[in-house]
């Protein structure tokens, strides 16, 4: 044994087995092309020269000695900054299947060191809890035996759109109709909305691909999909294009991009689908948006009206306002007026035990066009790990409570509730979304699922990848570095977007047909839901089945 001082060991020293991912490299296959080291977003691997001593003993000549062999190979770095994230890009580019990351099945140590320089862990992605979600466990069990002939998802006509925007009570509608009063604007949209991901968080190619896909869904497939911009504005050419009608513009506490939007109003060919006022986000309640300096490129800086290369944290609250009541009221009214009362305006809040009070506030605000609740499993481009993992409220019970609250007031048709946060976390996007709809949501927003399904995002809840915050996205989805985002072909993203929505469209019908529903989206059809967990069933007021 040697003294500890003769090897370099510090408190933060780690070895391969301390890392979450271990890179396995087969020297016998490696051609030393260097592709893997070039592609690795973390610079986690490097080409290394090694020398091997081979002791040599010639008994006849009575001589001892050594021979040395040199060889090259790929080695993994063990520093925190370069810890492998398991993205597998190295494996993807290797011409000889010589390299791949393998998850460390032992407990790894990086969890204790991801606060280097006193900075807590920040990342992208969502709450790192894997396994079936509550939504995954909900069954649609009220099969319509009396439906004769049974509905056929392939043959019959299904009406599966939903309404976004304030809806008047029938009596009030007729009164205003007669008197020529203001009828709040509404939109007939597909119930699965591409949730707000900003131009800034997403790369230009990703954003373009999404928009192209959305336009294709609307104009060719006849599926009226809309998408949110997130905070950070919208490219001027989109603002002045006929595609604006597929876009929900978001205003958040940083107001980024709104100079550009307001200036573009006179030139708009059509109105946007809606305006979303972001008060909170499920992934990081109490935190404003965050675009880290790595991603503030020239283009982003111009769009947002800020200098290049600085961190862009949005404040946690809309600073100019005194209380949420005042804020909601004033902002909704102001924005409604700015768009000539022709665009639905709704707030987005993070799911919380206090969501109902915001909702009741909206019920009394005649300009409020809905409410979006984002649950704890929602994704984000950048946030503190502790916010993502431990702060927030699951979506299901929050939506259910809010819906039932509206039901007692008879207002469930007037303020549509949209739900977000963890829909499609395990791929069951239509099932998860329809479960929320039957619990009372008028529709759902999906963000991370779209990144995964349409652009091949590698992130997961075992903390694979999740480096969206630092601009090194290996797929080019969340990077502003042209070298990276050129990897993403917008046309292929658009193609995947249309495939995803075609498939959701069919799955919705496959869920509705056996329930005997085809005329309208089964919002609040809680009699169709069952779950094999008594406590959850009681809480959600659905059936316990086993």
């Amino acid at each position: 044994m040697v003294s500890a001082r003769s090897v370099s060991v510090t408190p933060s020293s780690l070895s391969y087995t301390d890392l979450p991912w271990i890179v396995q490299h087969r020297e016998d296959r490696c051609t030393l092309c260097g592709h893997c080291t070039a592609v690795c977003p973390k610079e986690a691997i490097y080409l290394a020269y090694r020398r091997q001593r081979m002791p040599k003993l010639d008994v006849l000549k009575k001589s001892r000695g050594n021979e040395y062999r040199t060889f090259v190979g790929i080695r993994q770095k063990t520093t925190m900054a370069n810890a492998c994230i398991g993205c597998s890009m190295c494996a993807m580019v290797c011409p000889n299947e010589a390299i791949m990351p393998v998850p460390n099945t032992n407990e790894h140590r990086t969890l204790f060191f991801n606060n280097q320089k006193g900075e807590p862990n920040k990342r992208g992605g969502r709450r790192n809890v894997s396994g079936p979600t509550l939504l995954d466990r909900i069954m649609f069990d009220r099969i319509s035996m009396l439906t004769d002939p049974a509905l056929d998802a392939g043959r019959h006509e299904f009406n599966i759109t939903t309404t976004l925007g304030r809806i008047l009570d029938p009596a009030e509608f007729l009164k205003r109709q007669k008197e020529g009063g203001w009828i709040p604007p509404t939109r007939e949209i597909f119930p699965f909305v591409i949730g707000s991901m900003s131009f800034g968080a997403l790369s230009p190619n990703m954003w373009l691909g999404l928009l192209q896909g959305v336009a294709y869904c609307n104009e060719v497939l006849g599926i009226p999909v809309v998408m949110g911009t997130g905070e950070g504005g919208c490219p001027p050419w989109v603002l002045k294009s006929p595609y604006l009608k597929y876009i929900i513009l978001q205003i958040a506490s940083g107001y980024f991009g709104w100079d550009e939007i307001i200036r573009a109003i006179p030139d708009m060919q059509c109105m946007p689908a809606a305006i979303e006022i972001k008060y909170g986000q499920g992934a990081k309640p109490g935190d404003g948006g965050l675009l880290m300096w790595y991603k503030v490129s020239k283009l982003i800086a111009r769009l947002r009206g800020v200098p290049e290369g600085v961190d862009l944290p949005s404040p946690p609250v809309h600073q100019t306002l005194y209380s949420i009541e005042e804020s909601v009221m004033k902002m909704i009214q102001t924005l409604s007026t700015a768009f000539d009362h022709q665009v639905p305006i709704y707030p987005k809040i993070s799911a919380s035990t206090s969501a109902k009070s915001v909702l009741n506030n909206l019920v009394r605000n005649p300009y409020a066009g809905g409410m979006l609740i984002d649950g704890i499993d929602g994704g984000t481009g950048a946030a503190y790990n502790v916010s993502m993992d431990a702060t927030g409220h699951p979506i299901a019970s929050c939506v259910r409570e809010c819906y039932l609250d509206l039901v007692t007031q008879g207002k469930q048709n007037e303020i549509p509730i949209f739900a977000a946060g963890g829909i499609g976390k395990n791929g069951n996007v239509a099932q998860n979304g329809m479960a929320l709809i039957m619990l009372g949501a008028s529709g759902v927003h999906i963000g991370k699922y779209i990144m995964q399904a349409a652009a091949g995002c590698l992130g997961n809840e075992k903390n694979r990848c999740n480096v969206c915050n630092v601009g090194i996205c290996p797929k080019g989805i969340t990077s502003q570095n042209p070298k990276l985002y050129r990897r993403l072909d917008p046309d292929l993203v658009a193609e995947r977007v249309s495939e995803v929505f075609m498939s959701i469209n069919t799955e919705i019908k496959k869920i509705m047909a056996p329930l005997g529903r085809s005329q309208s989206l089964p919002v609040g059809m809680s009699d169709a839901l069952g779950i094999g967990d008594k406590a959850v069933a009681d809480r959600l007021q659905i059936k316990y089945v086993c």
């Binding site: 319509s144 035996m145 009396l146 439906t147 004769d148 002939p149 019959h156 006509e157 009406n159 759109t161 309404t163 809806i167 008047l168 009570d169 029938p170 009596a171 509608f173 007729l174 109709q177 007669k178 008197e179 020529g180 009828i183 509404t186 007939e188 039901v407 007692t408 007031q409 008879g410 207002k411 469930q412 048709n413 329930l515 005997g516 529903r517 085809s518 005329q519 309208s520 089964p522 919002v523 609040g524 059809m525 809680s526 009699d527």
Partner: protein, 380 residues
Amino acid sequence: MCRLALKTANTPFSPYEVLTAMEAMQEGYDGSGLGLLLRGLDFEDFKYNTKYPILSGIAHTEQAWSRLNSFMEERGFELKYDHEFETIPSLIEAKDRFRYFLRAYKMSADLESKSQTEIDEELMLTRLALRRNGEENGGDLTAFSFWPDVAMIKEVGWPLEIGNALTLNDNRIRARVCMAQGRQNTNYGINLYACHPFFLQGIATMTNGENTAFVPIRDWLLGKHFPGYTGYQSDSEVFAHILHYTVRQLGLPLETYKHIITPLSTKELDAHPQGEFLKGLRNTCRRLIIDGPNAVIGTLPDETCILAMDQKKLRPATIGGRDGAWAIASEMCGVEAMVPDRNPAFDFQPMREHTIIVPPDRKELTIWSQHDPFPLPQAA
């Protein structure tokens, strides 16, 4: 599947005629119950004044019967006529039937002097109070309707047997409109109140089918906090309440009912002369959109009868007749049995977009298509 039969004629007829028509449609039917609604009443032994509300229901025990009497008295209703059914109890499956009642009352002078809306409300509240009274006493009192010129009978068993048990063939009671439904067990349990037709403030409907959108519709109607929107032992009860809401609460023309329960698609509305208004109506009444296979048959206080189909026409229904007498049935043989002296070539099976309206004069029927414009209140 439930069997439905409606007959409407200028000359009052015996409800037994409709029951025999239902016999013609017996195939594939389990005979689990009968619901009967009579309108435009004519009694053999009483000159009926159509201002008198008629209370119909069942007292299951003697105590309930006496409670009913004192209840009505206390509420200021004076008994004018008590129709005593000649009953043959052995033909009735249920044993706890002390008395079927069908009684005409005179309203108190105080009530009579009130506005029509107030009177209508009081009649409804009286019926609901009686119903609650029965429910609080172990279900010993069942009140089906309390309304001028309307009588209702509901019972479990084979329809014709029930008719025989109540000797409905003795012509002592006749009506100009008779709605009958042979009820099949539904997945919402057997309950006398769950029998069609459903009735609220003069408006009645019956349906064969399944309303799969029942729960969200019920939740919405309950949220209106209108006392009559209650019950919901059957998924079809909401059809009557939606018709009530359309015609009475919103004051919309009868045609809009179809636009509320089965609105046209956006594409169809784009081509509709009243498309903009109808899109707004569809939005605002979105929670009243029905679903599943249903043929809805209804009657209004002025003796108008309607028949509307579900949006996909997944249930059959036929209408036929002649000037003065019309029949609607879930099967063609039912129409034949009710109005044999008609030209069957003019029998009509409405399609998905149709509402058939037989106006009170019963001369001709109106086949109204949802794609056609309809009279709207000014400016709409």
